[in-house]
């Protein structure tokens, strides 16, 4: 892979889609919610999701023949970044919209698409991700959840962890081993669609140092999954998962988790900040604007049918570090002792951002793993 490919000189970002922006902003103007950092993870509001869906902003890339708005990934990108910049509560439909829709469009059966896509577009059906396990985080291929062949399907047993909102989701896409482990560690993995209300599913909360409960441990004890709910090809789960990663790693959620805090920082610094405040603000905005261009160039490449996995990894690495940098800049510019229960929005957002910070560079592939991917593409590994 050439350096030009990685660095992406030849990819331009797309145009602005001003009509969509206006529509989303007008929708948001009519909504009342408290902006939050990390809103795509902690802002869980099914009613908001339904209202958003009614305006055609959920499952935007679902084709019209499956009851969706039939929009492009770039149009979805614009809508999503508007929602995240506003700190809107999008968590209830987030996984379904970001992961499940492209997965089913690409690998789902006709029956699966007909069953799930219209419901997702209506904001009526939510999904969780069942990938990580207590002993398998960065080393995802080492997962031990297994699917044994039974009559008409699989019996799935194992433990999944870090499953956001599993306790209030309808379904979970589980990565499990359906064939015995061989020398090729990536072979024999499959993606199965599990009903979280099925017998054998037990969901236990995992509380974070932030005080939030959105993560869970999901214990699967011989959960029966019919063949009709195998996603894609049995044994090909690994390559299916990898293809999702370019989408997952480079999106606006990797840049904008702390944007609501940045807005409050601008408010707090006023319209005539001192030199230090102006410089700090200018630097943060320069890095953010740059990251947005990078992220958009990946989105444009994806739209053009390419799979810029390395550039997506770079976006996530740089973007998530910058999300943390916004928090630090805000902290240093303001002499506060923030708390999540403060009456001041600024203090609440700052506290939220500080507490949520470590997660940015861990979730969706740790930054160290991502750098390893970049290093490999440069021929160093």
């Amino acid at each position: 892979m050439s350096i030009a490919d990685i660095v992406g000189r030849r990819h331009k970002g797309p145009a602005g889609y001003p009509e969509f922006r206006r529509e989303v902003r007008s929708f948001l103007a009519g909504e009342e919610f408290e902006p939050r950092c990390d809103a795509w993870l902690i802002g869980h509001d099914p009613e908001f999701s339904r209202r958003l869906a009614a305006r055609g902003f959920v499952g935007m890339t679902i084709p019209t023949r499956y009851g969706g708005p039939g929009r492009s990934a770039l149009e979805r990108y614009v809508v999503v970044e508007e929602l995240l910049a506003a700190g809107a509560p999008v968590a209830a439909h987030w996984i379904a919209d970001r992961q499940t829709v492209p997965l089913l469009i690409r690998y789902g059966t006709e029956e699966q698409r007909r069953r799930f896509l219209p419901a997702i577009a209506g904001g009526e059906c939510s999904f969780a991700i069942g990938m990580s396990e207590p002993d398998s985080g960065s080393d995802l291929a080492s997962i031990r959840t297994t699917g044994h062949r039974v009559d008409g399907g699989y019996s799935v047993s194992g433990r999944k962890v870090w499953t956001s909102h599993a306790h209030r989701s309808d379904f979970m896409i589980v990565l499990c081993r359906t064939a015995a482990l061989t020398e090729d560690r990536h072979a024999g993995l499959s993606q199965l669609l599990i009903d979280l209300r099925a017998p054998g599913v037990e969901i236990r909360p995992v509380r974070l140092l932030t005080g939030e409960h959105h993560f869970n441990e999901v214990v699967l004890d011989e959960v029966v999954v019919p063949d009709s709910l195998v996603v894609g090809t049995v044994g090909e789960g690994w390559s299916q998962v990898v293809s999702e990663l370019a989408y997952e790693r480079s999106g606006p959620e990797r840049l904008l988790s702390t944007f609501p805090l940045l807005v409050e920082l601008v408010r707090a610094l006023g319209d005539r900040p001192d030199k230090g405040g102006a410089a700090a603000l200018g630097r943060i905005v320069a890095h953010l604007a740059t990251l947005r261009h990078l992220s958009l160039s990946v989105a444009a490449a994806l739209e053009a049918g390419e799979l810029p996995l390395v550039r997506a990894a770079l976006v996530k690495d740089l973007g998530t570090i910058h999300e943390q940098a916004i928090t630090e800049t805000a902290r240093r510019q303001l002499a506060l002792e923030p708390h999540v229960a403060s009456a001041s929005r600024l203090e609440r957002l700052l506290a939220e951002a500080i507490l949520a910070g470590p997660g940015f560079t861990l979730r969706g592939g740790t930054n160290e793993i991502l750098r390893g991917i970049v290093a490999r593409s440069l021929g160093l590994r």
Binding site: L262, R283, V285, V374
Partner: protein, 343 residues
């Protein structure tokens, strides 16, 4: 291959050939560039340039940065040629440079003009046949011999000479009023964009050198690139190059002062971090005069401070953002040319 890609390739081939040739001199290099019609890329043909637009001019500057070309390509086309074309003045042959130093005054005298004052650190002044001056709301083209010169250099040894205008007389047609939008501020922004482009070129080279070195240098029985610590650092370097490239590409596309501020800040930060990582990867040998790494890192260190450092542009950008206010931040980040025309 697109016309732009062909331009880049032609220029790169020329640099490869000329910079490695025995007896290579900056004068000879310039002559080859002029013969190939590459010295006025991006300047309109009607004004005497080789045509094309900002994209072409930008590509030339970036490729010159990649080769650390010891020649005022950026100054000639991007700055001097731009000023002359905007003012409707003919473009003379030979290497050019430009200055908009506010310490130079222009006054009317004897039916023409007189230039007075001192311009500090004019890039490549000693190599330039003519100096284009933006002063007193006018653009003037001054023959090199008419100006006093005191030699100085930047960290990379590139000429940054002081020029002394001691009552330099110009005829009426040797200076023209600068059109709206051409002033000291826009000149500085243009220069900042030029340096940002050059830094992107140099950063690409620095990344290449680091990857190559990590693959070749063997210690503890394996190439040092096999160690995770080295891999992680080079990956960070790649990220900086990607970021700088994206920021500068966006600035070339929109060419507004906000985008240029973003580009200069981001490229400057990338230059700082990138040079640091490259030297760390190369170890002691990369620190020597003999090794080629310094040809690029010295330039990165010099260029990041020219036409406004990251701090200067961050203050400017921060003030712009603060003036837009909390509700103006996101619209500022998402505004596009189309919207500006709609609005």
């Amino acid at each position: 291959m697109s016309a732009l890609a062909l331009l880049e390739e032609t220029l790169a081939e020329l640099f490869e050939r000329e910079l490695r040739a025995a007896g290579a001199t900056p004068d000879l290099l310039w002559r080859r560039l002029e013969e190939a019609g590459l010295t006025l890329a991006g300047v309109p043909e009607a004004a005497g340039g080789s045509g094309g637009g900002l994209e072409e001019a930008a590509a030339v500057v970036r490729v010159a940065g990649y080769f650390a070309a010891p020649t005022p390509l950026a100054e000639t086309a991007f700055l001097a040629g731009w000023l002359l074309a905007e003012a409707g003045l003919p473009i003379p042959a030979g290497p050019l440079t430009a200055t908009a130093a506010e310490s130079i005054s222009l006054r009317h005298a004897n039916g023409g003009f007189v230039l007075e004052g001192r311009a500090a650190r004019v890039p490549w002044a000693r190599a330039a046949r003519s100096v284009v001056v933006l002063a007193g709301g006018h653009v003037a083209c001054v023959p090199g011999e008419a100006v006093g010169l005191e030699q100085a250099e930047n960290l990379a040894g590139e000429p940054r000479d002081d020029l002394v205008f001691d009552g330099v007389a110009l005829t009426a047609d040797e200076a023209r009023p600068a059109p709206a939008g051409v002033d000291a501020e826009s000149f500085r922004a243009r220069g900042a964009l030029a340096r940002s482009l050059a830094m992107v070129g140099a950063l690409e080279r620095v990344l290449e050198l680091s990857v190559r070195y990590a693959g070749e240098r063997v210690q503890f029985g394996r190439p040092i690139g096999r160690f995770q610590a080295v891999q992680q650092e080079i990956a960070v370097l790649a990220g900086e190059v990607a970021a700088a490239t994206a920021a500068v590409a966006a600035a070339v596309e929109s060419c507004d002062v906000l985008a240029i501020a973003v580009a200069k800040i981001r490229a400057g930060d990338a230059a700082t971090k990138g040079a640091s990582i490259a030297h760390q990867v190369h170890g002691a040998i990369g620190f020597t005069e003999e090794h080629e790494l310094h040809r690029f890192t010295l330039r990165l260190w010099a260029w990041r401070d020219e036409f406004g450092s990251e701090e200067h542009w961050a203050v400017a950008l921060g003030k712009l953002v603060a003036a837009a206010g909390p509700h103006g931040l996101w619209p500022l980040l998402t505004a596009t040319k189309e919207e500006e025309h709609d609005g």
